[in-house]
């Protein structure tokens, strides 16, 4: 495995800037110049100390911030109850907890992270030997885009809040900048996860693309066997004019199907990273497809186009002899399984951060909306949620927070879809090359594939799946309604019993309600299918 000159360039090559940034702000403890020289993540003691120092500094500053802005909460405490105040603190500390979780987990598995990328490199080499190439160039682009987005969001939120809602006469207000730190660090950490996940997805798609290529080659081989392109063309034209009553001969059909898939292009994404020859073959077709007019006749031009050259060279398809292709299919299957394992390992590394992120997302989303409501009712809200006083800033915050969560969920969903798609492509191979020996191989392998599972979950409490969104959104809605209900009740109770001043009791309700809710929602949002799923 250890060649002097590696066959493939390691994935980490793309992570340059991200690693530097996260090294500076203390998201990752690994060694810097080791990374710069041989693109490897290795444990380093100094990095660990640096990170711990940074973490402690953050914590201190954050507490300072809370203290200094807690000044004006004294009045709030008087007007509201002790509890809402405490809740406010709790909600603010959630961010800190999240950040600490990220950094500590990064510390604990600084070793495994390197191994993870090493495994990915090995997988790349194996894929290379199966001549399915994949280019990591787009990953660097993605990282850049994500970083830019993060900066934009953070800066906009920070500046807008600072200018509108903080009185920047006293120098202490500069501390407000610290309030952006936890989310920023958390986002950096999540970018690592997201990009690595995306890389895995690309690996899966590369495998699918190789299988599709096998199918295509076999198609061409068959058409080549079945005679010159003229007949094919005529067949094509005939079908356009008056198609045969019974469906046309299989190889022609699936040839058509293959081409259409190429044309459809977008739906599988099977094109990405599947070798260069594939690309320039597709280019003209895609071009002619841009304005999709008369449906049937158009695709025949490309077919003739890429059957024409094939006629001259006597080319053979791998699928034609099963014994040769068996090896390849076996290897692809093993690589698939290996990637699934890597996915599981990655999920294990990031499980606690993701859990904390989801909890944070749910809490902040609910709290922000609730405090927005409170602000519209001219009630006082915890000072660290002052961004809720302005609906536009609130919108930005919500978009930012929910964007992080939803993107992770979406990506993991896509990845599992791509991994499931391999089975389909495999079966296509089997059906196209109509051969008993191959059928046996394909059945065997597809049984194996059915048992390869890559499902991303947060500590096994809930799977990172789009279905989760359903439950979470339901939870948010119902809890908001309940909260507002409590708030109204408390207000009315307050007004009702102004006359005699035993009002702490009822004012407690609001706080109590909020408190209960925060206690619960952390639990609630994890639960995609609660026991009482019919009611929510």
């Amino acid at each position: 495995m250890s060649q002097p000159t590696p066959l493939v360039q390691p994935l980490l090559l793309q992570f340059q800037q991200l690693f530097f940034i996260s090294k500076i702000v203390g998201v990752l403890p690994q060694d810097l110049d080791k990374f710069r020289h041989k693109n490897m993540l290795e444990k380093s003691r100094n990095g660990m100390f640096y990170m711990l120092g940074v973490l402690s500094v953050y914590v201190v500053l954050y507490n300072l911030l809370i203290y200094s802005f807690g000044e004006e909460d004294r009045t709030l405490k008087a007007s509201q109850s002790t509890l809402t105040f405490v809740i406010g603190l709790f909600l603010t500390y959630i961010g800190l907890i999240m950040m600490a979780t990220d950094q500590l987990t990064a510390l604990f598995n600084q070793g495994q992270l390197g191994e993870l990328y090493e495994r990915i490199r090995v997988v790349d080499e194996r894929l290379y030997r199966e001549e399915c190439l994949l280019d990591n160039s787009c990953i660097a682009k993605r990282i850049r885009i994500m970083l830019i987005m993060t900066f934009i969001f953070e800066i906009s939120i920070l500046v807008a809040t600072y200018i509108n809602l903080v009185d920047y006469t006293q120098w202490l207000s500069l501390l407000w900048i610290v309030s952006a730190v936890p989310t920023f660090i958390n986002t950096l950490d999540k970018i690592w996860f997201a990009v690595s996940l995306y890389a895995l997805k690309e690996r899966f798609e590369a495998i699918n693309a190789t299988l599709e290529d096998l199918v295509m080659e076999h198609e061409k081989y068959k058409t080549w066997l079945s005679g010159n392109d003229a007949t094919t063309a005529t067949v094509g034209n005939r079908t356009t004019d008056h198609p045969p009553q019974s469906s046309p001969p299989p190889q022609y059909d699936s040839n058509l199907e293959y081409l259409y898939k190429e044309l459809g292009g977008i739906d599988v994404g099977s094109l990405r990273g599947s070798g260069s020859k594939n690309r320039n073959k597709v280019a003209p077709i895609a071009h002619s497809m841009n304005s999709f007019g008369e449906s049937i006749p158009t695709p025949y031009k490309p077919q003739r186009m890429n059957t024409n050259p094939m006629i001259n060279m006597a080319h053979e398809s791998e699928l034609s002899n099963a014994t040769k292709v068996e090896e390849k299919l076996n290897n692809l299957c093993q690589v698939h399984d290996e990637i699934c394992e890597i996915g599981k390992a990655m999920n294990g590394l990031w499980s606690y951060p993701i859990l904390s992120l989801m909890a944070y997302g749910f809490l902040i989303f609910t709290a922000q909306l609730y405090f927005l409501y409170c602000a519209t009712q001219f009630q006082s809200i915890p000072s660290l949620f002052r961004s809720a006083k302005n609906p536009f800033i609130t919108v930005i915050v919500l978009v930012y927070t929910s964007g992080k969560c939803i993107y992770l969920i979406y990506l993991s969903w896509k990845t599992s879809l791509a991994s499931k798609r391999t089975g389909i492509s495999l079966h296509k191979c089997g059906v196209v090359a109509d051969d008993n020996l191959l059928y046996e191989i394909v059945n065997h392998l597809s049984l194996k594939l059915l048992n390869h599972s890559v499902d991303f979950s947060a500590c096994g409490f809930f799977t990172l799946d789009m279905e989760t969104l359903y439950g979470v959104s339901g939870g948010i809605t119902s809890y908001l309604i309940i909260l507002i209900q409590f708030n109204l009740a408390a207000q009315q109770a307050k007004d009702a019993i102004q006359s005699f001043n035993s009002f702490n009791d009822t004012a407690g309700f609001v706080g109590a309600a909020t408190e209960m809710d925060n206690e619960s929602s952390t639990l609630y949002d994890m639960v995609t299918t609660t026991m009482m799923s019919p009611t929510y």
Binding site: L523, M526, T535
Partner: protein, 444 residues
């Protein structure tokens, strides 16, 4: 996949049915685990959970089975059976007495509280506890035979494993003792709290009530711990099977090939057919054991879950009330009370869901591991296929009487349910209080 989840002791090769030419792959899946010698033959079976077993035996929930050999237990002798009957009879008599005294005002002094609802809650809690325990006793009495069968099955399996691989599977259930201690402490603490809380002299009736209440709680909890210990044992067996299978996966094969590069690389796949037979058989047996454990325990578990759900809810509610009334100081007594209950029940729920989840995971991961075995020849592929085909979409689950599956996420589900009910309770409280306010208003 840490190999020290069981302890392996390699006998000489002749103790096997078939002897392998060179170091069998499974020997390195537990290199570091040759910890202790083989247990001598005359030691009691299940010595890891002997304490909890003895407790349950003493309380008549399990029979005093005879140990025929180190790998078989027999039905209890007449006297022991009679003893169990006697204990159960006593328990039922006490239960009836308690219900009687709960209905009659004898127990009035136990239900001292400012709020009406708290008393009602305590009432229901008591009744639920009594019901749960009674049910436990009944179910255990009915399931005596099947419990023995389960034990025998496990022991037979161990015996076979020993004969086949010279491996003694230890079941490290040390957690059972710890939990026993925790339970006893919590119950004792709660008893003390209760006794201190009662004003005035305590009638013997209340003493009996309190003591028996604690006794019932403790035993139910103990039974739950016992169930999870059984599950743990099964889980370890499953894990062993998976390890055996894991030795054949392509990853291990590659490692082996790398290791034995100097001598001609000899694949150890030729053992696969006979080993696979053993593995499949064991897996089926384990599944059967798992299922029968589920059948034995599920009713009790459902009851316990309901009970602890109720307890947890009411205790959260009390805590909440305590925290939110800003009139007086928060009474430390009720705080301790609630916290004791919460920690007891939460830990039990966590234990149960964790052990169920682990076992289910191991049981279902066998097919996934088998999917990594790449046999060259056709017959190997057939061997693999026939298992995989039959395990498509056939995941097993540990269900609570079919109501819902118990796994890692159960704890969360329960807590979400708790919050849902809390919301409703609190709304009621709100309404009541505002009603009170209005009455006061009208009087003024």
């Amino acid at each position: 996949m840490s190999p020290n989840t069981w302890v392996i002791e390699m006998n000489s090769h002749k103790s096997r049915l078939f002897t392998h030419p060179q170091a069998h792959p499974r020997s390195q899946l537990s290199n570091d685990a040759f910890a202790r010698r083989a247990v001598s033959n005359d030691n009691p079976v299940f010595e890891d959970i002997s304490t909890i077993l003895s407790v349950l035996k003493a309380s008549g929930l399990l029979p005093f089975y005879e140990q025929l050999s180190s790998y078989e237990v027999g039905p209890p002798s007449k006297t022991n059976e009679f003893y169990s009957f006697f204990v159960r009879g006593v328990v039922h008599a006490l239960t009836i007495f308690n219900i009687y005294s709960l209905i009659t005002p004898n127990s009035a002094q136990l239900f001292f509280s400012l709020r009406e609802t708290d008393n009602v809650n305590q009432w229901i809690e008591l009744l639920l506890c009594i019901f749960t325990y009674t049910l436990t006793v009944f179910v255990c009495a009915r399931n005596t035979k099947s419990m023995l069968e389960i034990m025998n099955e496990i022991l037979k399996l161990d015996k076979e494993v020993l004969r086949q691989f010279g491996v003694v599977l230890s079941n490290n259930c040390n957690f059972s003792v710890k939990f026993l201690v925790v339970i006893v402490c919590c119950q004792a603490y709660i008893m003390v709290l209760r006794i201190y809380a009662v004003k005035g002299a305590i009638t013997p009736t209340s003493y009996i009530l309190i003591a028996f209440y604690a006794f019932q709680n403790g035993l139910t909890a103990t039974y739950i711990v016992f169930a999870s210990a059984l599950l743990r044992i099964v889980c370890i067996r499953f894990h062993f099977v998976n390890q055996l299978l894991n030795a054949f996966t392509y990853v291990q094969q590659q490692k082996l090939a790398k290791k034995s590069r100097r001598q001609p690389p000899v694949s150890n796949m030729e053992h696969f057919p006979e080993d696979s037979l053993f593995i499949y058989r064991t897996h089926n047996k384990l599944l059967r054991i798992y299922k029968s454990i589920n059948e034995c325990c599920s009713l009790i578990i459902v009851c316990f879950l309901g009970y602890s759900f109720y307890t947890v809810t009411t205790n959260w509610y009390n805590l909440f009330v305590q925290i939110t009334n800003n009139k007086g100081i928060i009474s430390a007594h009720i705080l301790q009370w609630c916290l004791a209950w919460l920690c007891l029940h939460t830990s039990l729920l966590a234990l149960l869901s964790r052990s169920c989840g682990a076992t289910t995971y191991e049981a279902n991961s066998t097919s996934q591991i088998l999917a990594r075995v790449y046999g060259k020849s056709k017959e190997f592929q057939n061997i693999i296929d026939k298992f995989l085909t039959k395990s498509i979409k056939q995941e097993v689950q540990f269900t609570a009487y079919g109501f819902f599956a118990i796994d890692n996420s159960t704890l969360f589900k329960i807590f979400s349910a708790v919050t849902t009910y809390l919301v409703i309770l609190i709304q009621f409280k709100q309404l009541e209080d505002s009603k009170l306010e209005e009455q006061v208003q009208n009087e003024v």
